[in-house]
Symmetry: C2
Subunit: 89 residues, 2 copies
Amino acid sequence: MTYTDLIGYTASLLIMVAFLPQAYQVWKTKSVEDVSLMTYTILMFGSVSWTTYGLLKSDFPIIITNVTLFVVQGSIMVCKLKYGKKIIT
Amino acid sequence: MTYTDLIGYTASLLIMVAFLPQAYQVWKTKSVEDVSLMTYTILMFGSVSWTTYGLLKSDFPIIITNVTLFVVQGSIMVCKLKYGKKIIT
């Protein structure tokens, strides 16, 4: 593994773990008012596009990173849709 | 440009624009309670690592995507640090 590869894997790992604190916070507090639904909707399309790109290029790090992101960001979006209703009702 | 390239560029574009609604929302509402500081701190390290990786591989799409992300996610983090103080004081 080269020095460049190591930086690439570190970068992937950081992005994968980055959304865990946000997911934990919205799940724990059930407060999602300040979280942008549009941002997480676009991120869903983003991770699906990246996963497709990774599959077409047979690039495993891209696939695993974006499948993980889809799950974690998706859980934040589910919380937003579920707990965000409080504002309307 | 191949079909795969097109998906890659679409994926990059989606990720670049995704955080704009979140940045606009926190800037407009000045309400950041539900935004995770830890998430945006890790994302900052992530975009710096990705930019370094892009520079080492001379990969322009990776560089431009992550410099953009650094600026937009950084502005969300600045709002969090600035307006988040309201909770303490």
